[in-house]
Subunit: 438 residues, 2 copies
């Protein structure tokens, strides 16, 4: 076979969880990869922090180096796969690789969220492609789907469950009725939470992915300070139960969208109520899913494992195949340019949604009238009110309101006024309700 | 801008529902398409049966011709989009286009299911690409997902809800408790069923798509006579209700898979029970979804509109962009070759699944013993038995069995022996139960 002699040499930076998966699965499926791409995709050199460490995968020791500069300076290496994790070192490595004219595949969402604009500009200047399918939603090919498969669409909205740890915790709070901390403990025991789960729990892992999806959809790298991010640490079992009884599931949702008339771009992450009638509400456990609405295709959804060694390496290998196709055909940067820059960031105060508001109120007549007078003055409509029977006599009883679409800033200031009422206690929860209609 | 002068001229064959959508949406999103592909994708000529017919889209009359040969012979036309519907004429048209060295985009599942092998071979000989994203599952980019995004995976299985009309009917039978014929009538009134819905109802529309998915996954074009296809016309409200009470939904399911040890390929379509715990069971109404299990990525699912003018034209436009990229870079056939040929067809008699069997039996002791003696002799285990309370006294009462994994042929012959029992009536339903485990 004419093509069988072609080979592309890969410099792999990082041999942790995902790096090991890439090494292992490239070998495991080498036959089909050769057949489908016409190229031997061969790992030639691997940069690791400590070459002497014992690892899960068996790697020829002569392949290992402690110095990633060796991958860059080796003229035989065609493609760099960057999987060393967060940090400025990854930024330096990707920069050096692109400057050396080597195609880069990265799974590093933190680096892209921080330095994406610079790296993409450098990639274009150097006419050297940069791929990042593994950076968002693990094995789900959402980057390729939005950039290539939905190329004929303006993206109206993306709603994504893009953090598996949070989704596992919320699912267990819903199905087993356990508390946030018990569910987090369980996630740790099952290996679904990192030793330090801070970025999962506080929403910023999803935030980094949302920034990348914002770029893919609207051509603009929003800065971390331009987006609004909240995590699931304050979601209570009580709120989960109320949401369920109202026909909703609570999910940590990334929202990336653009108004029809207001062309500013909204990128935010928050625990949100979504209707049970929408398929996104059926995404349980560690799975991720991304619902994309395009102005031609209508509603679509992409579902799969959002993390894990194997699922994520499937995304890396897909990028390697794309890189191989480009390199073999000598076409430089991929033909799919980043979509255009469509607008400014919409400040979070101006973002619209419905809301779930749980208050604790004194059980006496006239409280609801006081509250609805404040919401009314602020132009916020009330969709429904639930006053659940209190379980035991107490000074405060819960009052749950569903509020009409309103700007977040208006709702926040109305809430402050409500909390200042003498009949309203300080304990409360304000969550978004996303109807997912577009 | 250097690229702005480049243009690719499209010859559009067919201006029906999907053809009009392609024309309309190429104009609607021309700005983003130019920006993303660097090329003007311009419809230059349109072949229609009757140029004088009044149409939904406004098309310059000088663009129309009644003779599709004009599209082929016009040296200025770079790409042919074939959307004339079923039939040998489409085969002749695609063949002529490839021979003339023009890239082809088609949405014609029937022609591919019948002549796919020949057409793909011709495309390779001519080094001229043939695209068919719109032929399977409308706006869901399942062809690109399997061929490109999951390129590093052996495909373990594909389970697809790939006929919107059937899914609408089954959803309404489930949620509204109405009969098959009432649900079909409703689908017609809502425009979700064609004037002649035969191919939707008898399963062959899904069968054609399953053949294409078999090729995409396993590199082999199975012949229509090598696959097993059943439609939904015999699914009763009673079976839907029993299935629901057992924790299942009935869906018309396309199954494309390959054994781990037995490397033969299974392609079949049948109404099947799927567990409510699987996200595929949440796919309702006219939506389609395709669950793909890859040996690296694990479980994935792709969801969206499986039909309709706009959704399907999103798929055509994605193919046009891929064709444009190939043409501009002068790389001939796409770098992604069809996946290799991995095995023979597995005869339907040998295919394994669990089963739902509803019998009508005389209400007397010993009937179940007679039946389970027959299943036992055939090596078929019984998972559970339900004998619902009869609504009114009658000669026969229903008996529902769930059967363990067994070859279809064995189950068929055991069923014949059961039906020959004097205590068993002729009315019965045998449906597959798919656990979707891999």
């Amino acid at each position: 076979m004419e093509t069988s002699s072609k080979q592309l040499r890969i410099g792999l930076a990082g041999l942790g969880n995902v790096g090991s998966g890439v090494y292992k699965n490239l070998l495991r499926n080498r036959d089909i990869l050769l057949e489908r791409t016409g190229v031997h995709l061969q790992v030639a050199k691997i940069a690791v922090r400590d070459p002497d460490r014992k690892r899960d995968v068996e790697v020829p020791p002569e392949m290992l180096t402690a110095d990633w500069q060796e991958l860059i300076s080796d003229p035989q290496i065609d493609i760099i796969v960057e999987l060393i994790g967060e940090g400025e070192e990854a930024f330096a490595l990707i920069t050096a690789a692109l400057k050396a004219g080597k195609a880069v595949v990265t799974g590093n969402k933190a680096v892209l969220a921080k330095h994406g604009k610079q790296l993409v500009e450098l990639s274009e200047q150097q006419n050297t492609p940069l791929y990042c399918e593994a950076a968002v939603a693990g094995g789900i090919p959402i980057i390729k789907a939005v950039r290539e498969a939905l190329i004929g669409n303006r993206i109206d909205s993306i709603y994504g469950i893009i953090n598996g740890t949070s989704n596992y915790i919320l699912t267990r709070m819903t199905t087993a009725g356990i508390s946030f901390s018990d569910a987090l403990q369980e996630a740790r025991e099952k290996g679904f939470a990192e030793a330090d789960p801070t970025l999962d729990i506080n929403g910023w892992d999803a935030g980094h992915k949302a920034i990348i999806l914002g770029w893919i959809s609207y051509g603009r790298w929003l800065k971390p300070e331009e987006i609004s991010v909240a995590g699931i640490e304050n979601v209570s079992s009580e709120d989960v139960a109320f949401a369920n009884s109202l026909g909703y599931e609570i999910k940590l949702l990334g929202v990336i969208r653009q108004g029809k008339d207001d062309e500013r771009i909204e990128v935010r992450v928050a625990p949100s109520l979504i209707p049970r009638t929408h398929i996104l509400s059926s995404v349980d456990g560690v799975f991720n899913a991304v619902a994309v609405h395009g102005n031609v295709v209508g509603e679509t959804l992409f579902y799969g494992s959002g993390a894990g060694q194997d699922a994520t390496s499937s995304a890396v290998i897909s990028d390697l195949a794309d890189a191989a196709e480009n390199l073999m055909n000598d076409v430089g940067c991929t033909g799919f340019v980043p979509h255009g820059d469509y607008g400014e960031a919409l400040p979070v105060e101006e973002t619209l949604s419905q809301y779930y508001l749980r208050l604790s109120v004194v059980d006496e007549p006239g409280v609801l009238a006081q509250i609805s007078s404040i919401t009314g003055q602020n132009g916020i409509g009330i969709l429904s009110v639930i006053q659940p029977e209190p379980k035991e006599p107490s000074e405060y009883i819960p009052l749950v309101l569903l509020l009409h679409d309103a700007p977040y800033g208006t709702v926040r200031s109305a809430l402050e006024a409500v909390l200042a009422l003498s009949s309203v206690g300080s304990e409360h929860t304000l969550l978004r309700v996303e109807t997912l209609e577009r």
